[in-house]
């Protein structure tokens, strides 16, 4: 225990120690990004996950949390340690697809369960699907597909599309085009980590497009949106939720107001579980929850629901329990597709200002009961 002296994990573990109970029966290893540029995503994932664990009040679950520094080799090293030394039963928490690709295949091959709180690359949904791998968040393409579907609904016919030049970016544009029926005014790849979009904004202005779809996660999105607003281009923007998340909206400020973005969750989703979650999260951490927090929270609740039904020592039974997805998702209806990725509604949100805080509200539904494009590639689909 001395190794994992991270702030959030005592919750369950320390409780167990105080109560003098026997050693925890279920060990969960959370690998997520807690330092460096993408730390805000990992922090929210962790806080959402731990909130659910605390609420459950169970003393037989121990969560070991480690910072992957967003470095694949570090993530692999931590996974090795958690499997070999901590002997965890379940792994979770990875934010980034490239880190997931480094950890998940060998983790599941060693018989561990992996519950994804965020990253869900196509490889792991299609040919690389695995009975021990569950994506609780979405399939990576989903929000982009929804953006394409929404573009049709909104009557856009000539969209300019843009993403960073790396696999997730290429998947984003492919995903958008999968359902989008109009023409493309332009298709541009930017550098990963690019900070200045003046050249692309000039191209957008010159392209004669009627709308812009973009996927620029993290700091890239902040830069682009500020510069786009300042350049005075007034074409409507549409993008996946990543650039409009609670964690970064405040840094973008008014430049984001009114922009439509696709998400499978929103703070104002009207269901019992979500209202309770938002209130509890605010009370516990004194800030609004983000998409990542919601996904972390749902993942923990899925795990808890399965633990209630089956013993983790019996992988077959435990897997079946997970597949049932018998928990109150903050997203409302939630089931698993045959390749163990969610089937869920994907909404369109609008950025608004509420009590001096920038946030989102739902304005429509882009896709209903969307599964994913890779179900048929997965060998588990019979």
């Amino acid at each position: 225990m001395m190794r994992s002296a991270r702030p959030a994990l005592f919750a369950a573990a320390a409780l167990a120690a105080l109560a003098g109970t026997a050693a925890a029966q279920t060990k969960v290893g959370m690998i997520t990004t807690l330092s460096g540029g993408g730390a805000s995503l990992g922090v929210d994932t962790r806080d959402g996950f731990m909130l659910a664990i605390e609420q459950a009040g169970r003393d037989d679950i121990e969560v070991v949390i480690e910072d992957d520094e967003r470095a694949p080799d570090r993530a692999v090293q931590i996974a090795d340690r958690m499997i070999q030394s901590d002997r965890v039963d379940v792994l979770t928490g990875i934010v980034w697809s490239n880190l997931a690709m480094a950890v998940v295949p060998s983790g599941t091959a060693q018989g561990k369960f992996y519950l994804s709180t965020n990253a869900a690359p196509a490889q792991l949904a299609g040919r690389g699907c695995h009975p021990n791998y569950f994506a609780v968040s979405y399939q990576n393409d989903n929000l982009h597909e929804a953006a394409g579907a929404w573009a049709n609904q909104a009557g856009y016919a000539d969209t300019f599309i843009m993403a960073p030049n790396y696999p997730a970016g290429q998947d984003a544009l492919t995903g958008f085009k999968r359902f989008y029926e109009g023409d493309l005014a332009g298709e541009v790849y930017t550098d990963l980590g690019q900070t200045d979009y003046a050249a692309q904004i000039a191209e957008i202005r010159a392209s004669g497009a009627d709308s812009v779809f973009f996927f620029l996660p993290g700091g890239m999105g902040i830069s682009f949106l500020k510069q786009y607003a300042d350049a005075g281009v007034d074409l409507p923007l549409i993008g996946p939720a990543f650039s409009f998340d609670q964690g970064i909206l405040q840094a973008i400020g008014a430049a984001a107001l009114g922009i439509r973005n696709t998400s499978q969750w929103s703070k104002d989703l009207d269901n019992e579980a979500n209202r309770a979650f938002v209130a509890a999260f605010e009370a516990e951490y004194d800030r609004l929850p983000s998409l990542y927090a919601a996904q972390g929270f749902d993942t923990a609740n899925l795990l808890l629901s399965a633990l209630d039904k089956a013993d983790i020592g019996d992988p077959e039974a435990f897997r079946a329990a997970l597949r049932e997805a018998d928990f109150d998702s903050v997203r409302g209806d939630f089931t698993f597709a045959p390749n163990q990725h969610p089937v869920q509604d994907i909404y369109v949100r609008e950025v608004i200002e509420e009590d001096g805080v920038f946030t989102n509200r739902i304005v429509g539904t882009a896709m209903e009961d969307r599964a994913n494009a890779y179900v048929d590639d997965c060998t588990m689909t019979q």
Binding site: M2, R3, S4, A5, R6, P7, L34, S35, E66, D67, A71, P72, D73, V76, Q77, D80, R81, Q84, S85, S97, N98, M101, A102, P105, S106, A109, P121, Q123, N165, Y166, P167, A168, Q170, Y189, D191, L192
Partner: protein, 325 residues
């Protein structure tokens, strides 16, 4: 006074004993950590040859580390997918045999070192540092944005590659392989240092004019050292990829180049024992400091600063009481 020989053998023996003890105590993760240290040390042995002996401050050694990694990743990926590689009319089958992969890794990174060295050695001093950094960035950006082999996502290899007669998935056996290569590379460098080549290279760093006046071209020595150095670091890259069963552009990043340099300096630049001491200390710190405080990079930074400012000659210098070779 502790001699270099005793220190080097002692450091190697200690690393091996830690792994063995951990194996006996059924602590496989400690074995994995020791393996990581051995591989980093091997990469540092490579850089130390160029930097410590040749005076070539390369801030781009991650290029070779990454090339070694991708040699493994690409060959094993093709084998895993049962798809031969096509280069023009040529068809090359992938492989999951470690010796074959090592050979390719050494050849590819050595060749890259030759080409980069030919260009970079036209410059010296700060310019050399910067041009090697620039080559590193070129490889990094290329690897990130080239879609064929996973781009930024990298390549995952589901099963560790094989070595005849060994079960490489067993942590201690894989450690044994890495350790043997580390020992062999250290022995090779020790031999080179005693040979005319090492003598001339070492002198070329300190007094290039003298070496030239003695009938020896320092540039050719440096180029040769750079190639051997790159090849050794490339081999380490192939092992590192196998340790993680994964390769990604992060192996090309300039932070990694910086870290390899940190291993060398932390241990003692130019010292035979430096790479092992430095890499082992780094891995240990990373492990323990990371557990103490979320912001452990601050501690690591302060420690490094302390070593540079107050403990010239690194750990080897502290132990032997001499800051120089």
């Amino acid at each position: 006074m502790i001699t270099e020989r005793v220190l080097t053998l002692g450091a190697l023996a200690a690393l091996g004993l830690v792994a063995l003890a951990a194996h006996v105590a059924d602590e496989p993760f400690t074995v994995t950590l020791a393996t990581r240290a051995a591989i980093f040390a091997l990469a540092a042995v490579g850089l130390n040859l160029a930097l410590g002996l040749g005076g070539l401050v390369s801030l781009g050694h991650a290029v070779f580390f990454g090339l070694g990694g991708y040699a493994m990743g690409i060959l094993a990926w093709h084998a895993q997918m049962y798809q031969p590689m096509r280069i023009g009319p040529l068809e090359i089958a992938g492989t999951q045999s470690m010796p074959a992969i090592w050979l390719v890794a050494v050849a590819v990174s050595g060749l890259a070192a030759l080409l980069i060295g030919l260009l970079a050695l036209r410059t010296a001093g700060v310019y050399f540092i910067m041009i090697t950094l620039a080559f590193g960035q070129m490889f990094y950006f290329f690897a990130v944005s080239w879609p064929a082999y996973g781009g930024e996502d990298g390549l995952s290899i589901y099963v560790r590659n094989g070595f005849p007669g060994l079960n490489t998935l067993d942590p201690i056996q894989f450690f044994g392989l890495c350790f043997a290569l580390l020992a062999a590379a250290t022995g090779l460098v020790a031999g080179l240092r005693r040979a005319p080549f090492g003598l001339a290279l070492n002198a070329a760093r300190q007094a290039p004019e003298r070496v030239r006046a003695a009938g020896i071209e320092p540039q050719r020595l440096r180029l040769a050292a750079f190639v051997v150095s790159g090849a050794i670091t490339g081999l380490a890259g192939a092992l590192f990829a196998d340790l993680n069963r994964f390769v990604s552009p992060a192996m090309f990043s300039w932070q990694l180049s910086g870290e390899i340099m940190v291993f060398v300096i932390l241990g003692g630049a130019g010292r035979l024992s430096g790479p092992v001491l430095g890499a082992a200390a780094f891995v240990a710190m990373e492990h323990w400091l990371g557990g103490i405080w979320e912001y452990w990079h601050i501690l690591l930074g302060l420690l490094l600063l302390g070593v540079v400012l107050f403990a010239r000659g690194g750990i080897a210098g502290l132990v032997t009481g001499r800051s120089h070779v």
